[in-house]
Amino acid sequence: MSLLSIKNLKVEFPTRHGNFVAAENVDLEIEAGEILGIVGESGAGKSTIGNAIIGLLERPGRMAEGEIKLHGNRIDQLDEEMMRALRGNSIGMIFQDPLTSLNPVETIEAQLVETIMLHLKMDEAQAQKHAVEQLRQVDIPDPEIRIKQYPHQFSGGMRQRVVIALALCADPDFIIADEPTTALDVSVQAQILELMKGLCKKRNAGMILITHDMGVIAETADRVAVMYNGHIVEIGETAQILGAPNHEYTKSLISAVPRPDKRTDRFPLVTYIEAAEETADLVDLSTHWLGRSRDFGTSDSDMLNLKKLHMKFITRHAFFERNRLYLDAVKDVSFSIKSGEVFGLVGESGSGKSTIARMITGIYQPTGGEIHFAGTDLTQLKTANDVAPYRRQMQMVFQDPFSSLNGRMRVKDIVAEPIKFHRLAETNSECDEIVFDLLNVVGLGDKAAIKYPHEFSGGQRQRISIARALATRPRFLVCDEPTSALDVSIQAQILNLLKDLQEELNLTILFISHDLPVIRQMCDRVGVMRHGQLLEISKTEDLFENPSHEYTRELLSLMPRFEFASH
């Protein structure tokens, strides 16, 4: 008898336009001590399965068919009170975002003790001891001291450890982990996965690991179920699924994952998912407005040259200078980017890579150093009028496609705004024409113009962002994690689009990412950053083949990889 078995599960969400089926015909078996990965893209119904098991489907969702058995007993028909007794006690659940999973106004101890006393019949003193022990088990140093602290005093990785301790404090024998490492840096991710694997084996607990990340699956899961559109399309041993997938969807999904081991020209597109909207070549870029009047001259000189760029943020305000605390986000960073080059910046969160992007584009004022753009030191320009022509030549694409577009503006107006601001079009009708062409160039089509951002998916929104960035005919583009919020299939499309545009318009790009495989596919040269310092700059191939800095080697070794037997 398996630890948990799901038979013929169907979850539906009643809506005004009939029932939306989130998951259907799902059959799963999980043994004790086993880790089953569920992988798929957003909207595939992975989380729905986890929520159905623990009985926390978002309203108005409900289980329409099927049965869920834990230890051979049906749990999907239990009443609320009995289900609640199972949660935390027999089934533990870990969520994606450790920053929001903990109550910010209570100490770690208060939250642990409450949960422990609820499930294990202990008095408060025993529960406190047990709580410290739980923190020790998830490898939090000085648990006796840390337990008195509040969540905001922990880093992201440490918080996820606390979340795990909370979910496992009553020793459940079945664990659901819903994207447990998605919000974390690779080095932290590796530690957390290792920890979860260890705890599973040690306590002989079964686990469902829900993720979109093939690398995480490869490192952790014993078996994998691949989900697409509410259905499990394929299930089997991890090595078999990743190495020799049978289903077309799995094949195309795996091929869309950027390869860490070798540079390819273009990303294979996941044709199975959606008729991948390729760039409609309606516009001949060389003669079009976009390509025309790019009278920047073709010099071989550096497009961008940073000299001892420094940025410090005040982290504690105080009246007296000596009581103030500063954080050096960027410490004396110097590098240059050649015309037409794609320069990558890689590093973990807090390494200062985004801060550099923001200083270059003028969002932050650097505390020291020089930014030479096309031979002019931007830090010396004082008035907005002086800076404007340079600003026009550089544009930025942001990470989050949901918050970087104004939801109250039509796409047309969003894209037209930079054109109007820099007075690049003579008339309104000319401006409209340019906007339509831009939308075609990024593969959205004219019809997108009159819609609002919420009508588009994440990938489409990122296309809008790119169209907006191109609207001033820039020659320098800053892309700050442009695809880290997107599914792999969409990521492949967006990266292809960026590559095409870069070649056709001869753009210079500063490409910021934490994702090493993506960097390898996109960039000519790469800089590695840690704690605000630039540790190493080298050609991309050299960096991946012969990393010179120790930290780079460490990053490369932590990069989740999986064997490609299929190609």
Binding site: G88, M93, T100, N103, V105, L118, R146, L166
Partner: protein, 328 residues
């Protein structure tokens, strides 16, 4: 923490100085004080002498410093109309307004917060919906109308409660209280409900909105997944997070209960500062207006200070900026 409080106090002082300047400006711009004080038949010579005696010929900033100095000692000169020291006039009425506001604030909080929680938890319940509908009435009906209606029903038709005045009061030192007599307590009921109604509905809607927001947070979902019961989720985890923004607004609302008791006091002929202020406006009695302005500003500033301190008490994220983020 201490530097935070010191900073807030310094800011408060600046605000008070600005308000004092405005109050002082009243004297300069709203009519000639001498004209307001003396009769028609006073000779020009006498007027000039009076002007000299009162220091009105001194440079403006010396007059201002004198005004601030007097205000610090609680002296705002003599009322033009009552011919009594302003401090005495306000002192007599201060306790009436504070007692009325206090009772109103308690009603608003004690009823409003639980109603907000209830309507947030049972969002679709019949009772919640009727609360929400009723609260619309509370927000949209003007205070004076509610007051008049209450007087009509309970004061005139049923004759259960007094329609005006404070009833009997007991003097404890300079403080006169209506809490100790039956008639005093009875007299409090109608005006305090009138004054509380608007704030109550506001607090209810605010608590409801915040609570709904917090209930969507990940840590509530995670709490559910750990098997915590609803009582703990609602009243322990959600409520404390709800209170953080609610305290700010509520604090300011308490300030405005005191400041804008004017209408209620007029309707119920409540012998408080608001009524005094209304009369002072009618009579262009500038010393009273100036004193009232400064006093209300002081109350607001004090409440704000308390709110800021409470904020830091409740939210640990604000407290620990000094101890730093350990173990990053």
């Amino acid at each position: 923490m201490i530097s935070f409080i010191v900073k807030r106090i310094l800011q408060s002082l600046l605000v008070m100085l600005a308000v004092a300047l405005i109050a002082f400006a009243l004297f300069q711009f709203v009519g000639d004080p001498i004209n307001n004080m003396v009769g028609q038949d006073t000779s020009l010579l006498d007027r000039e002498k009076l002007r000299q005696d009162l220091g009105l010929n001194d440079p403006i900033f010396i007059q201002f410093f004198r005004f601030v100095g007097n205000a610090l000692r609680g002296e705002f000169g003599f009322s033009y109309v009552h011919r009594l020291p302003v401090s005495q006039l306000i002192g007599e009425r201060f306790s009436a307004t504070i007692e009325l506001s206090f009772v109103s604030a308690v009603i608003a909080l004690v009823v409003g917060v639980p109603m907000g929680i209830y309507t947030a938890i049972n969002r679709r319940g019949l009772l919640s919906r009727s609360f929400m509908t009723l609260s619309l009435i509370g927000v949209s009906l003007p205070t004076f109308l509610i007051g008049i209606l209450l007087i009509l029903v309970f004061g005139v038709s049923f004759r259960w409660l007094p329609a005006f005045g404070r009833g009997e009061v007991v003097n404890i030192g300079w403080w006169s209280t209506g809490f100790l007599t039956a008639s005093g307590l009875k007299a409090l009921i109608l005006p305090s409900i009138t004054l509380a109604l608007f704030q109550m509905t506001l607090i209810m809607r605010l608590v409801r909105a915040e609570m709904l927001e917090v209930m969507r947070a990940d840590f509530i979902k995670f709490g559910r997944a750990r098997g915590l019961n609803n009582r703990s989720l609602y009243f322990r985890h959600a409520l404390k997070n709800t209170l953080i923004p609610v305290i700010t607004i509520t604090g300011l609302q308490l300030g405005s209960i005191i400041a804008f008791a004017i209408i209620t006091e007029s309707v119920f002929q409540w012998p408080g500062m608001g009524l005094l202020f209304i009369q002072a406006i009618g009579d262009a009695d500038i010393p009273i207006m100036a004193a009232y302005l400064v006093l209300i500003a002081l109350i607001f500033v004090l409440i704000n200070l308390i709110v800021d301190i409470l904020y830091v008490r409740i939210d640990p994220r604000l407290r620990t900026s000094t101890s730093g983020s350990g173990g990053q």
